[in-house]
Subunit: 331 residues, 3 copies
C-alpha cells in the first residue's frame, strides 16, 4: 500500500520536513533500505546514515529539526513508535471477503458473524461464537462454547478447548493450544498412583492480547486462568492453571508459569524464566532471562530488574557473581 509522507505524518502525529508528496511503499532498516522505503532513526548519531541511505523518507526525533536535507523527514517525539504506526498504514492487509470455506465444519448451534472468515478444515463446536471481522485459519479446532470477539486473528492449526473466552483484536499464532487441562493430580497413598484433580475451570483471554506460536495456556482447575488486556506472550511459553496475568504484561519465549501465579500489570518476564506455584510478581517488576522464582514468593520492585535463581535484584546478583569469580580465582 502506497502512502505519501504527508499522509504518514498525519497518521502518526508527526510533522513533515521537506516534500510531503513523496511516496513511500515499504519499510526497512537503514542498512537494507531500497528506493521507496521508509526508515526511522532514534538517535542523532545515526541520522547521517539514514539520510545517506536509499530510503525515500526518514522518521526521526526532534533532534533532526535543524537538519537541512533534500530527503523528506517526519519528525516525531517517539520515532520507533511512529514507525510502528506507519507500518500499520503501509501494511494494512486488504480485508478478505467474508467466507466460510465449504470444507469447514460448523455445528448448527454455533454462531459465526457475517463478516468472519473461516478457512479450510476448521471445526467450530456447539454454541461457539465467532465475532465480526475475525479470521480463523486453516486446521483450527474451536471447542464447544468457545467465544471469540471481533477483529481477532487465529492463525492456522490452533486448538482451543471448550469454554475458552477470547476478546477483541486478539492474535493467536500457529500451533498454540489454549484452555487445555491443567497439570494436577492427587496421589493415592495406598496404590502410589496419581489420580487426576478436576480441571473444569476456564481460560479467559482479554482484548488486544497476542500469543506466540506453539504456546500452551491451561484453563483453571476449578476457577479461571486469566490473561489481561494488552498482554503479549511469545512462542513456546507455558502458562499453568489458575494463573492470573494482569494488563500489558510482556512474556518472552519459553518462559514457564506453574499454577496459581499472580502477575500484576506491566511486568516484564524474560525468556526461559520459571515461576513456582502461588508466586506473586508485583506491578512493574522485570525478570531477566532464565531467572527462577520459588513457589509462594512475593517479588516487589521499582523497575529494578531481577536476575538468577532464586531471583534477586540485579545489584545483589552482580555482587554474588563477582564474589564467586574472585573466590574461584583464589582456589
Amino acid at each position: 500500500m502506497k502512502q505519501t509522507v504527508g499522509g504518514i505524518a498525519r497518521g502518526v502525529g508527526g510533522k513533515v520536513w521537506g516534500d510531503e508528496s513523496t511516496e513511500v511503499t515499504g519499510l526497512a532498516s537503514i542498512q537494507s533500505a531500497s528506493p521507496g522505503d521508509l526508515v526511522f532513526v532514534e538517535e542523532a548519531r545515526h541520522l547521517g546514515s539514514a539520510l545517506g541511505s536509499k530510503a525515500a523518507a526518514v522518521i526521526a526525533g526532534t533532534f533532526a529539526e535543524t537538519e537541512t536535507t533534500s530527503k523528506p523527514l517526519v519528525i516525531a517525539a517517539h520515532p520507533r513508535l511512529a514507525f510502528a504506526r506507519a507500518a500499520v498504514l503501509l501494511h494494512r492487509p486488504s480485508e478478505r471477503a467474508p467466507e466460510i470455506h465449504p470444507s469447514a465444519i460448523i455445528l448448527p448451534s454455533a454462531s459465526i458473524a457475517v463478516s468472519a472468515v473461516i478457512d479450510p478444515w476448521t471445526f467450530v463446536g456447539a454454541n461457539a461464537v465467532i465475532g465480526e471481522h475475525t479470521w480463523i485459519g486453516a486446521g483450527c479446532v474451536i471447542g464447544t462454547g468457545v467465544v471469540i470477539g471481533q477483529e481477532s486473528k487465529i492463525y492456522p492449526r490452533v486448538t482451543i478447548y471448550p469454554g475458552t473466552r477470547i476478546g477483541d483484536r486478539v492474535v493467536v499464532h500457529a500451533g498454540a493450544v489454549l484452555g487445555s487441562d491443567g497439570f494436577g493430580y492427587v496421589r493415592d497413598p495406598s496404590s502410589g498412583r496419581h489420580e487426576k484433580f478436576p480441571q473444569v475451570g476456564r481460560l479467559d483471554i482479554e482484548d488486544d492480547v497476542e500469543i506466540g506460536a506453539n504456546t500452551t495456556i491451561d484453563r483453571g482447575a476449578l476457577e479461571i486462568t486469566r490473561i489481561g488486556r494488552g498482554t503479549k506472550i511469545d512462542n513456546l511459553v507455558h502458562i499453568g492453571h489458575n494463573c492470573n496475568l494482569g494488563e500489558n504484561v510482556i512474556v518472552a519465549a519459553q518462559a514457564g508459569f506453574s499454577g496459581s501465579i499472580v502477575i500484576e500489570d506491566n511486568v516484564v518476564i524474560g525468556g526461559q524464566v520459571g515461576i513456582g506455584e502461588h508466586a506473586h510478581i508485583k506491578q512493574g517488576v522485570l525478570l531477566g532471562g532464565q531467572a527462577g522464582v520459588l513457589p509462594n514468593k512475593v517479588l516487589r520492585g521499582k523497575g529494578e530488574p531481577f536476575w538468577g535463581t532464586p531471583a534477586k535484584p540485579l545489584r545483589d546478583y552482580l555482587k554474588s557473581l563477582g564474589a564467586l569469580a574472585k573466590l574461584g580465582r583464589k582456589q
Copy 2:
C-alpha cells in the same frame, strides 16, 4: 450430571454426616462455590469457611466428625483424593456414539474398533490399530503400524509417527508429537558435515499415561523409548531418544531429557529441569524446578529434593546460596 451426597460418599468410600439425599451438580473451590456445588477442605482451620460458603455439600477429613452443621458432609481419610473421585462421578462425559467421520482417511489395512470415535480430517495409516472406546480428535495423523489401546483419548492435532505403541486409558493433549526422530548425528571429520545417525527404534507408551499439549517424545535410535505406566507429563516437555521413564513419574512443564536417560519409578521432575544424556535418576528422587543434571550422573535420594545446577540435595543447595549471599554482602 447430578449426584446425591449419599451417592458420592459411596463412590469415594466416605461417610455421610447429615442429609444424604442432598443433590450436588458441580465442583468448586470454597471461594467460588455456588448453590449446588461440592467443595472440599483438607485442614480443620478451613472448615468454617467451607460451611459458611454457598456450597451444597463439603468433603472433609476426619477432623470434621465432631462438627454440628446443617450442611451435609462427606467424611473421607483423604479429602482431596475423595474430591478428585467425586469429580469423576459428576463430570463423566456422556460417551459419544461410535463414529468414523466421513472426512477421515483410514487406510484399508488399519483396524478401528467398533466403539471408537474418529473425528474429521484424521489420517490413520496402514496396519494401525485403534482400540475400543478410544477417541481420536480432529486433524490427527496416526502413522503406519501405530497401535493405540482402549479408552484412550487423543486430542486434536496430535501427530504419532509410525510404529509407536500406546496403551489403554492414555490421554494425549493437543499438538503433541510422539515418536519423532531422535536428535543424533555423526560428524564427518573430513567435510565437517553432520550425517544422520539412524533413528529407527520405537516409542512405547504404557497404560494410564497422560501427555501434555505440544510435548514431544522421540522414538529410540536403535532401541525403544519407554514411558512407564501411570506416568504424567505436562506441556512442552521434551523427551529424547532411548529414554526409559518408569511408572508413576511426574514431569512438570518444559522439562527436557536428552538421550538414553533412565528415570526410575515415582520420580518427580520439576518444571524446566534439564537432564543430560545417560543420567540415571533413582527411585523417589524429587528434582526442583530448573534443576540441571549432568550427563552420566547417577542421582540417589530418599524423598529428599534436589535443586540447582548441577543438582544437589536441598540442604547443600541452601548452604551454598547462603554462603554466596553473605560473600556478596562483604564485597
Copy 3:
C-alpha cells in the same frame, strides 16, 4: 531393504573381512541385535561382545583388522559414520509415486513439481513453489509465496508463514512453525500499551537443515532470519527474529535465541541454553546445557566448552562450583 556385506562396504568406503555375500536386513545395537542385523563397534574393548552377539555382521575400526572370526566385518576408519551411511543403504524409503491428494487445496498460482507428493488437507498458498521429490505431509499450511526446494520432507502439521524460503534436502518435523511474527513491540509511554513493531522480514532456511518437532523460528522484523546450510535443530527450540545461524550448527532441544543473534559456523548449543539479544557466538564454541549468554555478549573459544549463566569457560565454571561447595560446607 536387503544388502550384502560387500555392498555395504562399497557404499561406506570400508573393507570386508570375511564373507562378503552375507546379507544384512536391519540395524541394531549390540544388546538388541537379532540375526540379520548389522551392528557397529567403536572401541576394541567392545569388539568381543559384538562378535558374540546375534548380529549378522559388524562394522568396526581398524583395531579389528587382526581379529580372526567367522562373523563378517566391515573395517572403516570411522565406524559410527560408516554405520550411519549403511543405515541410508538399508533404510532408503521406497519413493512414493507423485501425488496431490484430492483433499489438498493448491491455489492456481502455486507451482508444484511433477514428482512432489502433497498429502491430505494441506494448503498451498498463492505463488508458492514446491520442488521435485519434495514431500508435504498431511495438514500442513504453506503460506503465500513460500519456496521449498527439492527432496525436502515436511512432516505433518507444519505451518510455514508467507514468504519463507526453504532449500533442498531440508527436513522439518511435525508441528514446527516457521516464519512466524517476531516478538517486537514499542511501548506507548502515554498509554502504557505495547504496539506491534513491524514484523515484515523473511525466514531463509538453507540446504540440508533439519528442524525438530514443534520448534518455532520467527521471520525477521525488517530483515532476514537465516538458518545456514547443514545446521541441525532439535525439538521445541525457539529462534527469534533476525537471528543469523551459520553452517553446520547443532542446537539441542529447548534452546532459545532472542532476537538478532549471530551464531557462527560449527557452534554447538546444548539443551535449554538461552541466548540474549545481539549476542555473537564465534566459530566452534560449545555451550553446555542450560548455559545462559547475556545480551550483546561476544563469546570466543577454541573448542573449549562454556557452562553456566553467565556462560564461562568450563575450567572457570568448575573452579567457582568447587569454591562455592567448600564455602557451603564451612557455614
